[in-house]
Symmetry: C2
Subunit: 303 residues, 2 copies
């Protein structure tokens, strides 16, 4: 049987594996850990890495929190339950190299308990990639690896979760996707997946363990490429779109800000530097223009 404790333990182990692996991939920077406790119950391990040879700023955070459900959350969920438990691992990495993409991963488990006696628990998560420059070969590799992980559990997962990511990571006011997407899923339970709880838990861990080999490979492919000052400026501009998405649309960020979460852990997703250039227009035929054309929904990267 899966229990809250087992899930939290597994997630902590995944956090450890990823931090160790990212330090090796970076080659110079080390994570700094901050342990924190939540007033209402539980706490977390915020781990930040900065100023590396690859990673300019990144966070790999674990938390497991519990307590009484705030009234506004009850309302939002339309439930009368009193207690909740939530655990997860959240990652955002901002590399210093414009040819290496920003990556985001989250795996999480949530449950509510109360007088209703209903089973209100589920897994959520996903991995998505935000290249400053879309490299089609890397995009295909990334999506194929995600599909391979999904396919081990259910034939429809990849297509469904890929579309979910396209729809979720969309910057409506720019009419562009945040990056090349990936997978995004929420409220996975036996009813929504046809899988047993054990298998859904295995899937959640498998997503967590897809992160490191995939991102390490993409780092290796690109870390020795040279780049220009103009390409750095383009990177800063793309990061400003990342800021816009996270502050305007991202449900996790909004939830954190509204429920008085630990601000520095929530906003570790912000890039070290972002630039806004008024009314930028990519030169015809440029790499920048090519990238903008690929920041669209419904691109099939695995055919």
């Amino acid at each position: 049987m899966i229990t809250k404790e087992k899930i939290a333990d597994a997630y902590q182990l995944i956090q450890d594996e990823i931090c160790t692996g990212l330090e090796l991939a970076d080659g110079s920077a080390k994570f700094q850990e901050e342990l924190w406790q939540r007033d209402g119950g539980g706490g977390g391990r915020t781990r930040i890495i900065q100023g590396g040879s690859v990673i300019e700023k990144g966070g790999v955070n674990f938390s497991a929190v519990y307590g009484k459900l705030p009234e506004n959350i009850k309302k939002a969920f339309g439930v009368s339950e009193d207690d909740f438990f939530a655990t997860g691992v959240s990652i955002v990495i901002h590399p210093n190299h414009p040819w290496i993409p920003i990556i985001h991963m989250n795996i999480r488990y949530f449950e509510m308990n109360g007088e209703s006696g209903k089973e209100l628990r589920w897994f959520g998560g996903g991995i998505d990639l935000t290249p400053h420059y879309v490299i089609e070969e890397d995009a295909r590799f990334f999506h194929t690896e995600l599909k391979n992980t999904c396919d081990r559990f259910q034939a429809e997962f990849y297509a469904k979760f890929k579309k979910w990511a396209d729809d979720y990571f969309y910057i409506k006011h720019r009419e562009e996707t945040r990056g090349i997407g990936g997978i995004f899923y929420d409220r996975l339970n036996p009813a929504s997946t046809g899988l047993e709880w054990e298998s859904i838990f295995e899937f959640s861990k498998a997503v967590g363990r897809t992160f490191l080999p995939v991102y390490t490979e993409i780092i290796l492919r690109n870390r020795n490429k040279s780049f220009t000052e103009e390409q750095k400026l383009w990177q800063f501009q793309r990061r400003s779109r990342y800021v816009e998405f996270n502050l305007v649309y991202d449900a996790g960020t909004k939830f954190g800000l509204e429920t008085n979460g630990r601000i520095e852990s929530i906003l570790m997703s912000m890039p070290p530097q972002a630039n806004w250039v008024y009314d930028y227009s990519a030169p015809y035929g440029s790499e920048e223009e090519k990238t903008l054309k690929l920041l669209k929904k419904e691109i099939n990267w695995v055919s």
Copy 2:
């Protein structure tokens, strides 16, 4: 009698005056104008100034738009009116110099018409200052000048609108104000002010005309001060708070993004460069710490 046309004409003139004055104060950069038209009716003059000797990036925008009220706005206002008209001038200036503050000004007029026969129109606006470093003498000067303008129209205006700005320009998740505030007001009409429409219109213009002399004076006081590389980095950090406020809380920005406004005009308020530093803590006794202590509500700058 005040008419839509008169108000829009007056606002355009104020835009012209301010652009001319800011070019003189900057001494090198010139505004670039873009005229745009709105599909549903009306349009505007977006004017952007960049790369100046004082102004790194700024916008002084005029718009006058009209048409059918979108359904979601009707709902938000709780009205059944069909037509609207809105005109205003909006300014955000990001100086390159860390000792010169960011400034924001807005004057606007809005009306709705329909079968209700009710008089649904009002003026709104304000001016507020966001210093990277709070200079108390400048803060007192700024607030005193705003108070002088307010006092010419009504004794309670300054106190009321100063508190309104404190409450509005508040970054809840940081527990700090965006800057040192200023004045903010909305829905001014004879019922809410005890003034005739003519006087409220005069007040709106007076606010618009307070901007230039006040900001020019603050530029002159600080433009020749020297600054360090660390102070530039602090400036970039403060700008990231400006980004957070505008994308998470600002009603005007949200309204623009949700109603498919002209994105580049709305987001001209974004700084040219913003930095996020993880878990920054200002050194004890530093200028940075002093500034953070002054980013609080309810500081009396005019006593």
